[in-house]
Amino acid sequence: MIRKTVDVAVVGGGPAGLSAALSAKKNGAANVLIIERGENLGGILNQCIHEGFGLESFGVALSGPEYMQRFIDDVEKHRIPYMLDSMVLEVSADKKIIVSSKEGLFEITSKSIILCMGCRERTRGQILTPGTRPAGVYTAGAAQNFINLKGYRIGEKAVILGSGDIGLIMARRLTLEGSKVLAVAEILPYSSGLPRNMAQCLDDYGIPLYLSHTVTEIHGKKRVEAVTLAQVDERFKPIAGTEKKIECDTLLLSVGLVPENELTRKAGILIDEQTAGAVVDEDLQTSIPGIFACGNVLHVHDVVDYVSLEAERAGRSAAEYAQGKEKKPQTIKTTPGEGIRYVLPHQLSADSDVKLSMRVMAPARNVKLILSDGDRVIKTLMKTRVNPAEMIQVTLKKNELAGCKKIIVMLQNAK
């Protein structure tokens, strides 16, 4: 085993990892190391060749690879070392990381660790789609990898289950590559992707979206031959008599993303079951001091720019921890109230301004977003529309937090 000691170790070299590493370096951590499982830095954005990244950070719409290249160039400029083809097998509570790489097995001891492992797609097994098990069933991200990175033609006639953004982007991508997308089915009564992607990926190409529909059966022995779509009731149960069989050779699944927290759980870090990510304070520190989490491993984001910004915060905190900077106690607890699925971070200090990230449970129009401490309303924001697909961020000022013991966020009808 090869032993190594660093100040800040970053697990994952995607959007969160690179931004966190750069921020740690810029905030005074001398010895930063990025550990990446893949062959290249950049993570999932290498295959996201469509545009729309960077509007928040750079004021221009970039493709995924262009967005990442800016960070990769910066990592090279600051001479931050990185390991590629290197799989982290274990992160322990005493901040030792076991890494398997081509050079052998490493044990890296770090003063602080930033978890940036991103998320994974939910698969057919997780949504229990009945039927045979032929070839031609892909997650949307796997299809994106095959088409955009390898140049494979994955199928001629496709049905997409789930209207998440990757599914919508892939509906357009398949159409451009000459395949026919026959339908997008969404089990919810509303799309789970951003409205702009509904407009430019489905409407532009006349691809029909079936809301409150799901795939009830997959047909075919060797290759997908057809899928059965059916309408569902309000409890998501298929309604008898609404089935229609669609002949196709490909089924894409865009049915949600789950933070990849196997390492986190194994380390004994506390997990929020709502986000499936770590419980964190405003420094993005987890329940183990010196271990931080940011990006999609903490909670699934809608826009990569917000991942980069969140990671900057984690990088700064990790650098400060590594330098032994004293930490303020964080005693204010945040809680999601009526209409809110989750609020992050979980604990606040009232020592500085803080940006809260949250998601609503269901789409709504003309609502009030209310932040209170249980007795007293601290802030009210009017929202003409809210959507679970979109993360909401609210900044609370230091003085607004003074004297609070908790923060409850809730939605209320404005009328």
Binding site: E51, S63, V303
Partner: protein, 121 residues
């Protein structure tokens, strides 16, 4: 007054924009929250344009494909023809972001440019 609804595709805010018009003229635009949204909607009403992203095979590179995009938006009705022309294009490594794969595609004055660096193998 007849009206049309648009979803702005410029940024993730996805503003819903309402256009009132008479004949070929817009009489009122509402719902946008920025200048870009208004520009997009005016363009969308008269002559919609889109950016196009896809990929092109690359010879002698560390990876088999390089991602590309239109350097500017092109008329929406040309997307299919543009894809047909791009599917015949090839690039040679090394490729740098911004290198053209096709210049002046379909006489639009718009280039197809690389969005990824591909070093030589």
């Amino acid at each position: 007054m007849p009206n049309k609804k648009y979803v702005c595709i410029i940024c993730p805010n996805s503003c819903e924009i309402d256009v009132e018009y008479s004949g070929k003229n817009i009489t009122k635009i509402s719902g946008q929250t920025c200048k870009k949204g208004e520009e997009y909607t005016r363009k969308e009403f008269t002559s919609p344009e889109r950016g196009l992203t896809t990929s092109v095979p690359v010879h002698g590179g560390t990876i088999p494909l390089v991602s590309v995009k239109t350097s500017k938006t092109i008329p929406k009705e040309l997307i299919k023809d543009a894809m047909a022309e791009i599917s015949a294009a090839r690039m040679n490594a090394p490729v740098k972001i911004g290198d053209p794969a096709i210049k002046n595609i379909l006489g639009t004055g718009v280039d197809i440019v690389a969005t990824k660096n591909v070093p030589k193998k």
